[in-house]
C-alpha cells in the first residue's frame, strides 16, 4: 500500500514539474526567437473585433504593410464582439494588452480617465499624418485631458431610417420633417403597424434629441456634468410618452412580447422583418443589418433623417466616433506602431485594402481614395451626410457610459410600463444620472 501511495504522490509531482517545465521552456524559447530577431525585425500585436469580412480586409492590409515594411511584423489578434471587452479588460489589468488596439469610444473614460491610459498620439503626429488628414474637431473626440488617446477611425450617428415600402402603402410618400407630422402619420397606419420601433435605449436617444432641439443644451457637457435640468429631462420624457400614446412606436411591453428588448436585436424581430415596425432610430454604421432582411422581403429601407420643428435651436444630432485605434502606453515601438496605423488609415494602398469594413473613414486622404474608387455610397453614407450637414451641440463620451445607459433604459421602461408618471420619471432620472456621473467622474 505504501508503495502505491508513494508512486501516486511522486507521479503528481512529476506531472507538476513536467507541466511547469515544458511551459516555461516553451515561453523561453519563443522569447529567444524574439530577442534574436529584434536586430532585424520587430513584432507588433494588433487586436480588433469584427466579423469575417473585416478580418479578411484587415489581414490583407497587414500583408501589404509587411511587404512594404519587411522589418515590421504584425501579429493579428482578432475576435468577435462577444467577450472582447472582458478580454481587453483582463489584458489591460494584467499588462498584457496588444500594442495596437481597436477600442470603443465610450471605453475612453473607463480605461483612461486622466488621459494616461493610452499612449499620447500627439507625440507621433508626424508619423500618423494627423495634421493633413484630421480636423481639430475630429481629434478632439479622441482626446482625454489634452492627450490624444485614440484616432477616430470612422464616425457614426443616430438617424431615422424608414421602411419606404410600408410608408408608401399607407399613403405616406416622404418621411415627415416635423415631429407633429410624425405623430400625425401614425393615424394613417393600420392597427398593428407602427411608423417606428424604439427600444428603450433608442427611445431615450430620440427623446433626448428632441429635447436638445427645444433647449439648445447638450445633455452632458464637456466636463462630464449634467447640463439638462429636471425640466429639460421632462421635455424629453413627455415627448416619449406622446410617442407611445399616439402609437408612433409600440410600448416596451409590446416589443418585449416579441422577445425583443432583452437581447433580441431589432433586425431579428418578426414584426420588423414583416414591415409592421416600419422605421427605426439607428446608428448609421449599423444600418446594413437592418436593410438586408427587408431587402430579402422586397422592402426598401430609406433615410428619414431627423424631424425638426421651426422653433428648433439645433438639430440635436448625435455624432461620435464608431471606434478608435489606440496604442498601448507601454508599447516598446510606438513609432513603428504609428507607421502601421498611418498605413491602414491614410495610405491609399492600405485604405483600399481596408475598404469600408470599419465604416466610412474620417481621414481626408482615405475619403479621397475611396471616393475616387467610387466606393462611398449607400444608406450609411446618406445618413452620415445628413448628420454632417446638420451639426449640433457636442456629445460627451459619458453619454454612453454603461451604467448611465441602464438608468436611461430603466426610466423609459418605467414610463412605458405605466409604473410612474413622467414627473416621477424625470426626477428619478435626474437624481440617478447625477449620482452615476459623480461616481464615474470623481
Amino acid at each position: 500500500m505504501k508503495r502505491a501511495i508513494t508512486l501516486m504522490v511522486s507521479l503528481i509531482f512529476f506531472l507538476t514539474i513536467i507541466l511547469a517545465g515544458c511551459g516555461t521552456s516553451k515561453q523561453e524559447s519563443s522569447n529567444n526567437v524574439q530577442t534574436q530577431e529584434t536586430q532585424k525585425q520587430i513584432t507588433l500585436r494588433f487586436s480588433w473585433w469584427g466579423d469575417d469580412t473585416r478580418h479578411q480586409a484587415t489581414l490583407e492590409a497587414i500583408k501589404l504593410f509587411e511587404q512594404k515594411y519587411p522589418n515590421i511584423k504584425i501579429k493579428a489578434e482578432y475576435a468577435g464582439w462577444d467577450g472582447y471587452l472582458d478580454k481587453q479588460t483582463t489584458q489591460i489589468a494584467g499588462g498584457t494588452a496588444a500594442d495596437i488596439m481597436q477600442i470603443n469610444w465610450n471605453w475612453l473614460p473607463i480605461f483612461s480617465k486622466d488621459g494616461n491610459g493610452f499612449y499620447d498620439l500627439n507625440k507621433l503626429s508626424k508619423e500618423l499624418g494627423l495634421e493633413e488628414n484630421y480636423t481639430k474637431n475630429i481629434l478632439q473626440l479622441g482626446t482625454v485631458n489634452g492627450k490624444l488617446n485614440g484616432i477616430p477611425v470612422a464616425l457614426t450617428g443616430r438617424v431615422i431610417y424608414y421602411n419606404k415600402t410600408v410608408y408608401d402603402k399607407f399613403g405616406v410618400s416622404t418621411f415627415p420633417t416635423t415631429w407633429n407630422d410624425l405623430i400625425n402619420i401614425a393615424k394613417k397606419f393600420d392597427k398593428g403597424y407602427y411608423p417606428m420601433i424604439l427600444g428603450d435605449y433608442d427611445a431615450w436617444l430620440l427623446s433626448m434629441t428632441y429635447a436638445i432641439q427645444k433647449t439648445g443644451k447638450p445633455f452632458i457637457d464637456n466636463n462630464g456634468k449634467l447640463a439638462f435640468d429636471e425640466n429639460d429631462i421632462k421635455i424629453a420624457l413627455d415627448f416619449y410618452k406622446k410617442l407611445i400614446d399616439n402609437k408612433v412606436t409600440p410600448t416596451i411591453a409590446t416589443i418585449a412580447n416579441e422577445g425583443g428588448n432583452g437581447n433580441a436585436p431589432i433586425e431579428q424581430l418578426p414584426s420588423f422583418i414583416d414591415g409592421k415596425f416600419a422605421g427605426l432610430f439607428q446608428w448609421t454604421s449599423a444600418v446594413k443589418k437592418d436593410a438586408t432582411p427587408l431587402k430579402e422581403k422586397n422592402m426598401e429601407l430609406a433615410l428619414g433623417g431627423i424631424p425638426m420643428d421651426s422653433d428648433s435651436k439645433t438639430s440635436g444630432a448625435i455624432l461620435k466616433p464608431s471606434m478608435l485605434f489606440a496604442i498601448n502606453k507601454d508599447c516598446k515601438y510606438p513609432k513603428e506602431a504609428a507607421t502601421f496605423l498611418n498605413f491602414i488609415l491614410n495610405d491609399p494602398e492600405g485604405v483600399k485594402a481596408m475598404g469600408l469594413n470599419r465604416g466610412i473613414p474620417v481621414s481626408k486622404s482615405a475619403v479621397d481614395t475611396l471616393q475616387k474608387a467610387g466606393l462611398i455610397s449607400g444608406l450609411e453614407y446618406d445618413g452620415l451626410k445628413f448628420l454632417l450637414d446638420h451639426p449640433s451641440v457636442p456629445i460627451s463620451p459619458y453619454l454612453e457610459d454603461p451604467k448611465l445607459q441602464d438608468v436611461y433604459r430603466q426610466t423609459i421602461d418605467q414610463i412605458s410600463y405605466g409604473k410612474v408618471t413622467v414627473d416621477e420619471a424625470a426626477k428619478y432620472m435626474y437624481d440617478n444620472v447625477q449620482k452615476v456621473l459623480s461616481e464615474i467622474t470623481k
Partner: protein
C-alpha cells in the same frame, strides 16, 4: 369426483391462458403507450436541432419569421463557406486546437477526481470535515471575481497564450462538482466489498482499482462525458487565456462567426457551423450510451 377435478383443471388452464393473453395485450399496449410518450417527448426535445438543421438552409429573414424546421431548399454552401471561415484558418485547425486541451482535461479530471473522492469517501483522517467543507465551498464563489487574480497567476508562471491554464488545474481535481459527485457514488457502495477485498490481500489502492472503479463505471463515464461536453462549450476560459488566432478553439471561432456588429453576416452559415460544433458532443454522448445500459457485474455482492 374425477370429473370435477378435471373440470376445475380445465377451468384453471383456461383462466391461465386468458390471463396470459391479457397480460400479453397489456404489455403490448403498455409498450405502445411508452413509445408514443417517449417519441412525443423526444420530438419536443429534438426540435431545436431539427430547427437548426432547417435554418441552415434558410435566408436571414426566413430564420426569424418561421418556426418550421422543413428546409425551403437544399444547398450546402453555408456549410462549406462556414468551414473555410473568413479567418486565416479553417475549422479543422480550431477543432484540432479544441481537442488539444479538452482531451487532457478529461483524462486528468477522471484520474484526479476518482482518487480524491476515494480519499474522502473511504478514509478517516485529521481535518476531514473542514476539508470536505472547503471542497464544497469552492463551488460557491462566482467565477467573475476570481478571473483576474487567476489570470495574473498564470501570467506570473509565463503560461499565457498556452493551453496549460486550461487543463493544468484538472490534474489537481480542481472541479469540486466531479469530486463531490463521485464521493456520493462511492457512498452508495457497501464497505463490505472493500473489506472482503482487503481480506483477500488487496491494498487500499488495489481496492480502488480492482473493486470500486469497475463498480462505479457508469459514474466515471458520466464524469468523463460531462467534462468533455462542458469543455467543448467553454468560451470564457479560452477567450481569456488564448490570444493567438492560430490557437483558438471552436468555441471562440464560433463566436467570431456570430459577430453581427457590421451587418455582413449570413445566419445560415453561423447556424451551419454551430451544428458542426455540436456534433462531437452528440456523437460522444451517443457512443457512451451503452455504459448506462449495461448492468453491473458485481451487483450480486451488494445490499
Amino acid at each position: 369426483m374425477v370429473n370435477l377435478i378435471e373440470n376445475r383443471n380445465k377451468n384453471f388452464n383456461l383462466r391461465q391462458n386468458s390471463d396470459y393473453r391479457k397480460r400479453e395485450i397489456k404489455r403490448t399496449i403498455n409498450s405502445a403507450v411508452r413509445y408514443t410518450i417517449l417519441s412525443i417527448g423526444a420530438f419536443i426535445m429534438l426540435y431545436p436541432i431539427l430547427w437548426l438543421i432547417g435554418a441552415s438552409f434558410k435566408t436571414n429573414s426566413e430564420i426569424f419569421t418561421s418556426i418550421s424546421f422543413i428546409p425551403p431548399r437544399i444547398d450546402f454552401t453555408p456549410y462549406i463557406k462556414g468551414w473555410i471561415t473568413g479567418t486565416q484558418y479553417t475549422f479543422a485547425t480550431y477543432f484540432a486546437n479544441t481537442f488539444k486541451y479538452v482531451i487532457p482535461r478529461v483524462v486528468f479530471t477522471v484520474f484526479s477526481s476518482v482518487i480524491t473522492a476515494y480519499g474522502f469517501a473511504r478514509f478517516d483522517f485529521p481535518f476531514k470535515k473542514p476539508l470536505f467543507g472547503i471542497l464544497i465551498a469552492t463551488l460557491f464563489l462566482p467565477e467573475v471575481v476570481t478571473r483576474i487574480p487567476l489570470y495574473l497567476l498564470w501570467k506570473q508562471l509565463h503560461l499565457l497564450d498556452t493551453f496549460v491554464p486550461l487543463y493544468a488545474p484538472m490534474i489537481f481535481a480542481n472541479q469540486a462538482f466531479f469530486v463531490f459527485m463521485l464521493i456520493q457514488f462511492f457512498r452508495t457502495i457497501p464497505r463490505e466489498l472493500d473489506e472482503a477485498a482487503i481480506i483477500d490481500g488487496c491494498n487500499s489502492f488495489e481496492v480502488l482499482t480492482k473493486i470500486l472503479v469497475p463498480t462505479l463505471k457508469p459514474a466515471i463515464i458520466t464524469v468523463a462525458l460531462f467534462q468533455f461536453m462542458w469543455s467543448m462549450n467553454d468560451f470564457m476560459g479560452p477567450l481569456i487565456y488564448i490570444s493567438s488566432v492560430e490557437k483558438y478553439p471552436v468555441s471562440i471561432a464560433l463566436k467570431m462567426a456570430i459577430d453581427t456588429t457590421e451587418g455582413n453576416f449570413a445566419w445560415n452559415q453561423i447556424i451551419a457551423m454551430s451544428l458542426i460544433a455540436l456534433l462531437p458532443s452528440i456523437i460522444v454522448f451517443f457512443a457512451a450510451q451503452k455504459y448506462f445500459v449495461e448492468g453491473i457485474a458485481t451487483t450480486g455482492l451488494k445490499g
